[in-house]
Assembly symmetry: C2
Homo-oligomer: 352 residues x 2
């Protein structure tokens, strides 16, 4: 703290991202990155964009990328907003649509950045406890509130939400924006994108960090009716005109074009996930059903925090959240089959 900080800054409680270790090489299953490389066309497009034109500003409106994403989802370009990672898109969304006088609803067990955004925007969150099995109590999101944010599938549990529940929540919240954060949707969930045409209150947020294996280039986007997208652009253009650089833009365009490659990789990840769940069950873990590229697991006798530290000693990083209700769970990213074999070996050694 410093006398130079304003009162707004003094009350902030920043997000803490998963560790990006530099001390040694780990089997890195802690930040839900894709274990497979970006497509060759993406890397080629970026190399191609690394030219003299970097002296020039990028297109502040990302017209080419927006058109590409719009075509992919059968939407208009005016229904697409691009940001510097879905975290920036979410930050702008909180700034644009939610108000201090009306609490914004999100779950007690969810992406922990939501409460940071709420704080950033001086919003009072309305925390909705998940059911005991970590399913979402849709009714609780239908009571009066000033907006809704739900990840589908949820993080860190991995549980997907049926599209009928989303419709139910959208119908009960006609006057507020409902954000469905689909960061992990491509690993088995049901997307809400087809609902956009019928629901002016729906904003779907996506990222290239997981499915498209591009956490390193920071591109996320929001899909929704034009009014919502215009609002996001108004806030963004009051903050930073050029949020997407020429290199990330070029890589993102190629990634959208290369969907067939990414679909195959997602299928591999899903197969590895199911294999891993069976193996974990066999050594005493219970695992929440997952529709994402990570699983949330708890052991019947060994404490999660102990396993977490022991795994680190064994060179395997997973994520542990020391917070009520989930302090006996580990969030484990699905890596390659080889990486998951190393995880299993380490776990067997730890639990023996």
């Amino acid at each position: 703290m410093s006398n130079y900080w304003n009162s707004f800054t003094r009350k902030l409680d920043p997000y803490v991202p998963g560790e990006q270790p530099k001390d040694r090489k780990y089997v890195k299953l802690n930040t839900n990155e894709n274990p497979y490389p970006p497509s060759a066309n993406v890397l080629a497009a970026i190399k191609d964009a690394a030219n003299d034109q970097l002296r020039l500003y990028p297109d502040p409106n990302c017209d080419e990328l927006r058109g590409k994403i719009a075509d992919h989802f059968q939407l208009d370009a005016e229904q697409v907003f691009i940001g510097n990672g879905s975290d920036e898109v979410l930050a702008f969304s909180f700034m644009t649509f939610f108000s201090p006088e009306n609490p914004v609803a999100f779950a007690d067990i969810t992406y922990s950045f939501y409460k940071v955004y709420a704080n950033l925007c001086s919003l009072s969150p309305k925390i909705i406890p998940l059911n005991n099995d970590f399913t979402l109590p849709a009714d609780a999101f239908c009571e009066p509130n000033g907006g809704v944010v739900i990840p589908n599938p949820n993080a860190p549990t991995g549980r997907g939400l049926p599209i009928e529940s989303i419709k139910y929540i959208l119908n009960a919240n006609k006057d507020q924006v409902v954000i469905i954060d689909e960061a992990y949707i491509d690993f088995g969930g049901s997307t809400a994108v087809p609902l956009i045409k019928d629901y002016p209150n729906l904003l779907v947020v996506r990222t290239l960090s997981k499915y498209s294996s591009l956490a390193g280039i920071r591109v996320g986007f929001a899909l929704g009716q034009k009014d919502l997208i215009n609002g996001l652009n108004t806030v963004k253009n009051s903050f930073n005109s050029y949020t997407i650089d020429r290199l990330a833009g070029a890589g993102a365009i190629a990634a959208i074009d290369d969907d067939a490659y990414y679909r195959d990789m997602a299928q591999k990840i899903i197969a590895t996930r199911e294999r891993t769940i069976m193996q974990l069950n066999a050594i005493g873990f219970s695992v929440i059903p997952s529709q994402s590229n990570f699983i949330f697991a708890s052991h019947k006798t060994a404490a999660a925090e102990v396993i977490f530290h022991a795994l680190r000693e064994h060179g395997v990083l997973v994520r542990y959240f020391n917070q009520p209700r989930i302090d006996n769970y580990l969030r484990i990213t699905i890596g390659t089959d080889e990486e998951m074999d190393k995880l299993m070996e380490a776990l067997k050694d730890i639990l023996k």
Copy 2:
């Protein structure tokens, strides 16, 4: 406007960046880009970083780049904050240090994003009129206020501020943060960086967009004492953990290393600027003395707005601001000698 926008968003008045035209090829002297390419090492470093590691998140703290910048300026890494372009750095600075109850002081003729940031942060600006010759009235910045923002050199005038005036303003504002925005400092200005050790209230903001010829990769930074940098990190980490992607980070590191190349390019730009000023004087323009990579010029008989549109017809883009006191001026970026020859040809044709 939409019913879904909150009251904050309804009152915003976004920044309008200079045109990035797509309809035809122009001599582009409208957004103060560097006419020379980034160094070959920068392009090589970016190509090298376009690899499988893009599947992983970047370092959220940009430790390597911060270390490099710190060494370059003989500061500690803890005195460096990195952002997605200096516009993002400035937005975070307004959010961190200024308060609605105390007006932040900036000039009437200055970078027009400042009033957008003030609006974004619900601040009431204290607008200080420049003197008639567009010099800065330092005394007016020493009256009670809640913070100060000054570009040195100023935009769009190009006028530099003597370091003694900056010291004078810093001494009179010990309890508020004084931001010196040095986007254009490397084209002849005197940097305030050596004052950082003595002034805990000084924040110097820089960009790689101009001097380093990297407007296309979006990297800016702030230099100041650790308390100020910690404040910026607190706000940034409440907004977006990973603002700098792997590619921009790699390019920026190479750019800092390649300072000798950029110094040469800056010298060429300065030589072209002085040549252009003489040529403009010869055809009836008066030009404000410039220490930047652009000039601010007014013709003795022809109206700036008329010349602006006629130049566009001739395939030359410059910037015109339709606002009081400067509505008879053109802001002209210094391009290559060949580009400036085309400007002069077009002007001679227009004014004949």
